[in-house]
Subunit: 183 residues, 2 copies
Amino acid sequence: MNIRLLCLGALCLRSGTGYDIKKLFESAFSHFQSASFGSIYPALAQLERDGLVTHHNEPGARHPERKVFEVTEPGRTAFAESLASIPATEQMRSDYMGLVFFAHLLSTETLQAKLAEIEAFYQSELEYLVAIRDWPGQSPGIHFTIEQGIAVYRAKLAHLRSQGPSLLARHREAPTPPPDGLP
Amino acid sequence: MNIRLLCLGALCLRSGTGYDIKKLFESAFSHFQSASFGSIYPALAQLERDGLVTHHNEPGARHPERKVFEVTEPGRTAFAESLASIPATEQMRSDYMGLVFFAHLLSTETLQAKLAEIEAFYQSELEYLVAIRDWPGQSPGIHFTIEQGIAVYRAKLAHLRSQGPSLLARHREAPTPPPDGLP
DNA sequence: TCGAACATGTAAAAGGTTACATGATTAC
DNA sequence: GTAATCATGTAACCTTTTACATGTTCGA
């Protein structure tokens, strides 16, 4: 599921500008996909070339003009069809886990700072999801994704808070143990 | 943390071939980063150009020859330094969550199949991590990452098993509810 | 009036996947 | 003998990020 398809999906929920869609990526989509303007605007342009969305410029002479995009009927059909053919996969890329994997090469202070950094991130993501959890008008599917996000961030925070201190303690005692015994 | 840096890290743990490193990405690294041969071999070539690794061909005339890579002293230093400067971030790209977000556009059968698909994936990842959990010789950092993986997959499975059936039931009753009320 | 948010877009570069091409060795 | 695993590499392509460029509107 690339950015183009998710932009199309966003417009199936409600019409809006590229800027609006960016905000969606920073809120409702944030715990499963990110995207920058540099991928959103070209995606919208291509969707329009393919006839899956259209836009009309909003009245009022602002600059640049607000381009409100709207999905077309072929677009709506194409989205539903594409969706059904996408395998349910997941992939994580976690620099945090990479860092901790090689923690024996960091100073204790650095490691501690990294753990604090990721804890703050987890905390703010969790707070956001809890805040939107009971908004009215959510479909069961959307509610399900929010609940999953909450469950995952809670598990990550619980793990970090219970295991973090002992990781740091062991790290302080034995700064550079030669690791081995990999699968 | 790109593939190049992770390959360098892998060689800091133990020397090996590109093929060996691929297996590491499929096992010990699998729950936080994936990589294909098409990124690993060029990464090793570039690390060697930069003097961070060297290789020697293993005796015995097989084809193609086994190139055993080994980190150099500058490589070891460069890795430790790079590591300290990487922010502890995480990003998920979950087609599964994207799919469920738009579940109202899928048939109940399709949705059910997708949930079964991801459950099998979670299950096998969890089993793998539990199996390697108590291997001897792991550094505290490596152990920490495995524990986190276990905690996360358990939370995901628990969420899926407790909320999946009710999602499917509500989906069956109201096939295409108009969702709204997004943040 | 000043900074944050709104608003659109492009070009270059980075990063990675997929598919192809080739062939040996090992375990059953 | 035959299938799986071991083993290396390239090239074309795809996706996405980063950095730049520009200007407006709104609220404090």
